[in-house]
């Protein structure tokens, strides 16, 4: 477990409701409604906490007929805290994880349900946003301007600005009116 994963797990565990959920799951695997009745919390509140627990790796989910069942992720809890503390910090991987966390933060702030809410004014943030949009393009394939516009329009109506910025940031190249992802 890396330091950042450990921090994310400990942060997630620092909540009474989530601890109560984990205690229930220690007894047996459960689905949202069962936890909701047991802990006297709304299903929406339980789903919210379960998502956090799943994201932190504390809980695993599986489909079981009509329900999604949740279970404790034993692998995570079998790691001792001393083992986590003994692990050497690798600055490079920590830096990568910090960059990735920053990237995720920017994407979460500017995208809502896959749509770009606004074009960031800060260049660093805009670059992250443009790289995210560029994931919709295949590498090595030529696109007409219309195709490029249609792809970008799925994210934001201002496809002209985004297309131009993708060229100037060298994310896309333009040759003989054809565009290609670099």
């Amino acid at each position: 477990m890396t330091e950042l994963q450990a921090i994310s797990l400990f942060k997630c565990l620092a909540d009474k409701s989530r601890i109560q959920i984990l205690k229930s799951l220690m007894e047996e695997d459960m689905y949202v409604e069962r936890l909701s009745e047991r802990l006297n919390l709304t299903p929406a509140t339980i789903s919210f906490h379960l998502k956090k627990l799943v994201d932190a790796g504390a809980v695993k989910s599986r489909r079981d007929q009509y329900y999604t069942m949740y279970a404790i992720n034993g692998d995570v809890f079998n790691v001792s805290i001393l083992d986590i503390l003994k692990e050497k910090s690798e600055e490079k991987s920590l830096q990568d994880e910090r960059d990735e966390a920053y990237r995720k933060k920017v994407i979460d702030a500017f995208f809502e349900y896959g749509k770009l809410k606004s074009i960031p004014s800060q260049r660093k943030k805009e670059l992250i946003v443009l790289e995210e949009i560029a994931k919709a393009f295949e590498k090595g394939r030529d696109y007409t301007e219309r195709e490029v516009n249609l792809i970008i329009a799925d994210f934001n109506d201002d496809f002209c600005t985004i297309r131009r910025d993708m060229i100037s940031e060298k994310i896309l190249t333009r040759n003989n009116m054809l565009y290609r992802k670099l």
């Binding site: 620092a14 909540d15 009474k16 409701s17 929406a44 509140t45 919210f48 998502k51 956090k52 349900y113």
Partner: protein
Amino acid sequence: MNAELFYSFLEERKSCVLAEITRLAQEGRIDESNVLKAKFNVYDICKAVYGAATAQSKDDAGNAFQATFNKITSPWKSSLEKAKAHGDDHKVLIEEAKLEAAQEINAKYAELS
């Protein structure tokens, strides 16, 4: 419509929700406590809207208040549906809390009118 009763209802609900926010935080249920802060803000929004409506026109304050308050709260319903459709559990909690406060306010307003 008795404005004083309406304001005291809003203040009372604010104190109740604030007490709940504090209790949840003390219990270590920080996320749930933070969600309730969104509900708490709705009572202040309502106070501001009602204050502006009564300042604008004493005779038509009721209609002006309801029109503005509904205009503010109706996007919350679509936001809730959107959040549910996309499995955005955090937003679902926030929108549900805000709508709960809006429903309480509308019910009280109807009762006092």
